[in-house]
Structure formats: C-alpha cells, structure tokens
Amino acid sequence: MAQMHHHRLRYEKSGLGIYISHLDTMALFQRAFLRAGLSIWQTEGYNKHAYISIALPLSLGFSSRCEVLEFDLESDIPLNEVPDRLNAVLPEGVRVLECYPARDPFKLLRTLDWTLTLEYDRGTPEGVEDALGEMLALPSLVIQKPSKKSKKGYTELDIIPMVHEWYVDQREDNRLMLKMKLAAQNPSLNPQLLLETFSDRWPAFRPDFVHYRREEIYLENGEIFR
C-alpha cells in the first residue's frame, strides 16, 4: 500500500556528482540523512531501510539542476534548515537546493527541459542546425528503443511527438548548445537516443562529445512540477 510521502528535496548533480549512478545516489542520500542527524521514515518489514524515492532516474554522466527526491521527515526541524544540514555532509557534486512539502504526484510529471552541449573538436560544422530541424520536422520518426521488458530487446517509439520544443541557444567555434523540451515519462525520450538517431542519419554531424543537463521539470499544463 503506497502511502503519501510528505517532503521533497530538489537537488543538483554536477561535476564529480554526475558519475554517481542512480542506485548509488539512493544509498548516498540514505546515509547523508543519518549523518546529518535527520530522522526519516523507515520502511517496515524484513529489510528495514530509510524510505526515499527519486522522481526520474538520471543517466550516469548527465548533470541536473532539478532532481527531485521524496521522503518523510520525522525530525522536528524547519524544512528550510534541511538543505544546509545535508549539504554539510554530501560529497562533492551533489547539492540540495531546496526542501519543501510535496505538492504534485510523480505521475503528473510530463516534460523536462534539457541543455545539450555538443562538442566538435574540428569546429562546429555548418548545417547541423538545419539538418536537425529537417529531421525534427518529419511527420513521424519511429526508432527502436532498447528495452529489457520486451522480448525483442527493444520497443518501437515515434520520437517526433516527444520533442515539444527545441532551439539553438549558442553556436561557438567548437560547441553547439541546444535547448530542448522533451517528454519525461510514459514514455520518456532520452536526449542521448535522439542525438544517436540524428548522428546515424548525418554521420558528418556526429559530435565528439555531448554534455547533457536537465534544467527544469513541468506538469502537463506547463507549470513547474514541485
């Protein structure tokens, strides 16, 4: 029986923090709460552990300013003191930005804003933007998404309706910065998959490296999720 959990953290992952996997991040917060002397609700049953839940798992190597973690604070302290207490005991690259009462159920989360920084060591080629625009203007583009649940090992996915907005934010000699609003769940579109699809179609435009960063999360109606 799912119980309603009452408190949330929004935290940032950057720098060295991006190499900490989703599961390791869960363990890290469980220990950080204990180190900070903050008591949180424990699950009952065979293997009791501090209950925490992360809204959207973040791929290894991605940074984010909008990770949301849910828990139940049992210590009687003001929520606005929680970030400092946790930040004092968190490792480099993981920083709590705010702590607040839970508002929107996780299932209402719809879209994510991303910043993608494409690095081109031999110079940003001309025409990348146009090629991407051409691809995303297609009426539909069905790709195979790896899936552990499916027998075939993948599921088919039309990525076009999942790209809600995109634009070029900055073009530099060796970098191209893209902003995108993508579907966040049921199903979600991982921007890495989008860029892989693009690079397969236009091998000359394949970047040498990409930084992925989550910026903000939204509800269906476009309001910020909290």
């Binding site: 060295l16 190499y19 469980q30 950080a32 180190r35 065979y46 009791k48 290894l60 005991v89 490792p91």
Partner: protein, 623 residues
C-alpha cells in the same frame, strides 16, 4: 577536470571509482603541503577501499602538518586501455595530480597476486620501474602489508619496505624525509638514514649471495646497516589512531560498513597461519574505547552496519559486554552488527541470536583438517566434539546450512585424513537428522577445500607444497568419498595457490620473473578473467628459474631463508620447535593457557601480552 578524462570516464565501467570527491576525502591546499604521499592499493577501488589498514594510515598521515596523503587504485582493464591511449599518467584521486610528481608512492601488499599490479601502476604513473633507475626527482617507492614480511621478490622495485604496523613508523619515515630535505640530503642519504629507523628495510642496502644449488648462501648488509630488521607494533591500541571520520565511498565497495578492530594478534598459534605469528603479540582494545569509536563512526558515516574484526573474534574476552553495548545503540537505529571469525569451540547461539534480527540459517566453521591427528598437527585446537556441539546448536536453533572449510596438502596429510573430511561432513549430516528442529527444508552441508600454501614466519615455512597433480588426486579421492546429496563439495583450482607458493617464499631473483609476467601482459592477477597460469610458468622459466624449486622443495633448518634479515618478533627456534611438535602431532596450548615463550612479548615495552587495563589504570596512563 581534464577534458580527456571527462570523455574517458563515460566510456569505462563504474566511473565513480576514478573520481574521488567522496564524503570525508581529505583535500588540502597545495601551498600548505610540502610532502605528497600517494597511497596506492594494487587492486581495484572496491577492494582497496575495503581495507582498514589503508584507512588508518590515510588518517595518520593527513593529521601530520605539511603532509598530504591521497589515494590511488589499480585501474580496471578498460580504464588502463583508455589511459594508455590518451597518455594520461596515473593520478591521485583527491587532487587529480600525477603521482610521479609525489614525494612517496606507497603500496599495501596483502596478497602475492597483486604484485604485477605494483609494476603496472608504477609504469602507468611514469615512474622508473627499478630502484636503481630512480633519480633525485623520482618518488620514494615504499611497500607495507602482510606480504612485505618477505618482500624479496619485489626488491628490485621497492625502495623501502615498512614491516609490521605502520601507525608510528610511517610518521617517523616522513619526518626524517622532511628533515633530510631541509638539510639538503640526497635520495641515497635519505634511504641510508631511513634504514636506521626500526621497522624499515631498504633492500638495495643488502647483498644476497647464492650457493651452487640455488639456495641463498648469505645476506650481507652494507656497512652501518642493521643486519636484522624487526617489525613494528603499536604498543597501546586504545591510544592509537582509529579512523572515526573515514571516507564513505559514493559507489558500492566490498566491505561497505564500519570496521571495528577488537584486538591484534591471535592467541591460537595455528601452525599454517602467517597472520597468527606475524601479528603477535596479542593486544586487545578496551570495550569502552570500541563502543565509543563504533558509535562515533556510525554517526559520522551514516553506515548502518558495524562489523567486528580480528583473527578470532570469539577470543575477545569482553565480547558479550561489547556486543551488549553496541546492540543498545544499534537496535533502535536499525543498525546491523556482524561478528565474523567465530570458532567452533566457543560458539554461542545466544550471541548469534542476539546479533541476527533476521534469522540467519547458514553458519560457517573451519576445522581445516579431517582427522583429529591432522588437526593436532596443525594446532587447530578444535575437536570433533566441539564441531558437533556447535552444529547441534545451529540445527536446534533452526539453521539448515553449514559450511565447512578445509585445506588439502597440509604437512603429513595422508589419504586417511582426506577421507576424514568426508566422514566429518557425514557426521554433521547425521547430527542434523538427530537435532534439526525444522526438517522440512532439508539441510545443505558445503565442504570447501583450498590448496595449502606454506608461508614465511610459520612453523611450516620449511615445508614443500604438494604438487598440483597430487592436490587434484586428493580432491578426486574426497569427491568420490562424498555420496550424500545434501553434502556439496567445492574445491579451489590449484593454479593460483601454486604461484602463491612460489612468490610467498621467493627470493629477489624472482623480480625478473614478475617483470617478465608483467611485460607479457600480466596484471589484475587476483581476478580469474586476467590470471594466466601459463604466462606465469613460462615467464619464470624464461628468466632461468625453476618454479618447483620454490614451491616443492623442503628446506632444512640450516638453510639461509631469503627473509632471514627480517624478524617478526617470534624466534626461528620457536617456529622450528613448533614444526617438530607438528610432526609428533602434539598440540601447543593457546597463549592464555600457558605462555610458550615465542618471543613476541619482547616487542612490548612492559612485556605483557593480552592485557586490558582497568579503566582507572588507563585514565592514569592517559593523564
């Protein structure tokens, strides 16, 4: 972060192993340190970070003004390939700086199969491999740990071996270094002066000669260099450094919990056990201190598990008192307390049940040998009666799985002893039938055998290892004697144990062989996916050495053993007498029943082993 590294990290498995930045990692201001130390563990991050010794010395060194100790681990194969392709030299996790620019590179040597990693890490760092190739600007390469007691096979590569417990000697070594630098001494002057510090062995200052038959004829120190180097110990464990504030890895490691060391040394004197002789004398920590440190370490780390560690934890006299104290703290906080290394002869179900909130169904005992005669020979003072009574307790308490550990190839072992293992396992099965409180789930009795490796500084240091073929014959004999479907037999492959036997009692000529193994691609040899038996044998032969000379040859008492210039405090004559007692199958009582005069008590200032002073006396001492 270096942009090359940034890209590499996303191409390798488990990148968090290579980034540092963990909670409690020590980052100092480069401007305020003049002595940089790279603590290298010659295996992966997950293994190395599980090592308590490394955590202790990390803390000890970082408490010193002007010293910054950082960590470094062996990269996994995928990372090594990337580093070599991109030309990235081995770096320290805390600063990201290349370790070739450090003052010291220190290796912890826990097992022989890590030796190739030492060479590989030096090479990845860009440090000259051999001691004689290093110049004034190269780091001093040191090594400690259990294998350092006979570090001879690595003598070509290690400038200083640190023998025994490093808490005090490491500080002395670094202080001397700082002094020598202030006074403008050269590298060689420093090494000669370091060799005067008790516990530091500088192999290049000792000359080894050989007889025509390949045995060592003499070991000659240079003038003014001590002929024997005695290991160091911590006098008072309560006063010694314990890492209450310790690094909490951001990725899963092997032993991810608070480790509390209850005592050092062992009262037992099992004749095969290197740790049992090398870690003497017995020095317990007080339960009050352990309780205080255990609670503080849990609070600081957020760990929800504490484990008590020692060579034989049930021999810690105040164990019930300590467990009571820790459980008072742990139970309300869902912290799990685990107590491994319990013996069959003082096994307590009451304690087990208090420890395990979720009922444990599997218990492990190590009789080591199948017959009483052979158990007496190895001085494993566990009787069949002890084992049966422990098993009865387990089965009555609802346990339905017992693991039994044995060694094959122990000195004097006969087929009768081998078959005795099958008999003993069958008796455990009958014991289950008679005593099980729950029969419905059946029982699982697992018999495991490993291949005995004779080790230096034990009474069996003169013994030949049996051949791999003979080991396999004994395995087959035992296998055919086990016919009960509830008894499962697992045996270790003999390959690595044979190589370990060569290296464990090797001399410094083996350095060329280790180098050859490494040149032919050897690394991460403790991992079965990397270990290559033929590569080892071919390399040893290629440098003109005979592997059997080291593994299978019986030594005489008169032979100059390659580690004769080292003392662990236990006299050679004592070890030889223990060997003679072994051949007569006469047991030696444990240290608490009677002191047999091994000599290790002389390492203690007051000469009293195994003593916990009353609190009042300790307060007086502290004041």
């Amino acid at each position: 972060m270096d942009s090359k590294l940034e890209r590499i990290l996303l191409r390798v498995q488990k990148p968090a192993r290579y980034t540092g930045g963990e909670y409690n990692a020590v980052v100092k201001d480069r401007g305020e340190v003049d002595t940089r130390f790279a603590f290298c563990f010659p295996d992966t991050y997950e293994i190395g970070m599980s090592n308590l010794g490394m955590r202790i010395l990390y803390g000890v060194m970082n408490e010193m003004p002007g010293v910054w100790c950082e960590r470094c681990f062996a990269p996994w194969g995928d990372m090594e390939t990337e580093m070599r392709r991109e030309g990235l030299p081995l770096w320290a996790l805390e600063s990201g700086d290349p370790i070739r620019d450090f003052d010291f590179i220190g290796f912890s040597l826990g097992y022989e199969m890590a030796y190739t990693n030492v060479l590989n890490m030096l090479d990845l760092a860009g440090v000259p491999l051999h001691t004689w190739e290093r110049g004034e600007d190269d780091p001093i390469v040191i090594a400690g740990g259990t294998c350092a007691y006979n570090g001879e096979p690595l003598a070509d590569f290690i400038d200083i071996f640190s023998l025994g417990e490093g808490e005090d000697v490491t500080k002395e070594m670094l202080e001397l270094y700082q002094q020598c630098r202030r006074e403008g001494y050269s590298r060689n002057d420093y090494l000669r002066r370091a060799a005067q510090i008790p516990g530091l062995y500088v192999p290049a200052l000792y000359h080894v000669d050989y007889n025509a038959d390949g045995t060592v004829s003499s070991i000659t120190p240079e003038e003014g260099i001590p002929p024997v180097v005695t290991k160091r110990i911590v006098q008072d464990l309560d006063q010694s450094y314990f890492p209450v504030k310790t690094i909490v890895p951001s990725t899963e490691i092997v032993h991810d919990r608070v480790m509390l060391e209850v005592f050092r040394g062992c009262i037992r004197g099992c004749r095969f056990c290197q740790a049992g002789f090398c870690y003497r004398p017995v020095r317990p920590k007080s339960p009050e201190k352990l309780l205080e440190q255990g609670i503080a370490a849990c609070q600081d780390s957020g760990y929800q598990e504490i484990t008590l560690s020692s060579l034989s934890t049930s021999d810690y006299r105040p164990l019930p008192q300590l467990c009571d104290g820790l459980l008072d703290y742990c139970e309300s906080r869902n912290i799990n307390l685990s107590v491994p290394s319990l013996r069959a002869d003082n096994f307590s179900m009451e304690l087990e049940q208090r420890l395990q909130k979720a009922r444990k169904s599997s218990f492990t005992f190590a009789p080591e040998a199948g017959t009483q005669r052979l158990r007496d020979t190895i001085n494993k003072n566990v009787t069949e009666e002890d084992l049966m009574s422990a098993c009865k307790t387990v089965f009555e308490g609802g346990g339905n799985a017992v693991k039994l550990y044995f060694m094959l190839g122990l000195p004097t072992e006969t087929d009768e002893d081998v078959l005795g293992i099958a008999d003993l396992a069958q008796k455990v099965y009958v014991n289950w039938k008679q005593n099980a409180s729950v029969r419905a789930r059946g029982v699982r009795i697992t018999v495991s055998t490993s291949f005995f490796v004779p080790k230096p500084f034990t009474p069996f240091q003169w013994e030949p290892q049996i051949t791999m073929e003979e080991y396999q014959r004994r395995v087959n004999l035992l296998r055919s004697a086990i016919r009960n479907k509830s008894i499962i037999y697992d045996w270790h492959d003999p390959d690595t144990s044979y190589i370990e036997a060569i290296l464990a009692r090797g001399d410094r000529r083996l350095g060329k062989a280790i180098e050859e193994v490494w040149r032919r691609g050897g690394r991460l040899d403790a991992w079965s996916e990397y270990f290559d038996f033929d590569r080892w044998i071919d390399s040893i032969r290629a440098v003109g050495l005979d592997p059997d000379f080291y593994a299978h040859r019986a030594r005489t008492f008169e032979e100059v053993l390659p580690w004769s210039m080292i003392s662990v405090g236990v006299r050679q004559k004592y070890l030889w007498r223990e060997r003679e007692q072994a051949y007569k199958s006469v047991i030696t009582p444990d240290c608490r029943v009677q002191c047999m005069g091994c000599g290790a008590d002389k390492l203690l200032c007051d000469g009293k082993c195994d003593e916990i002073l009353p609190i009042s006396a300790r307060r007086e001492k502290e004041a």
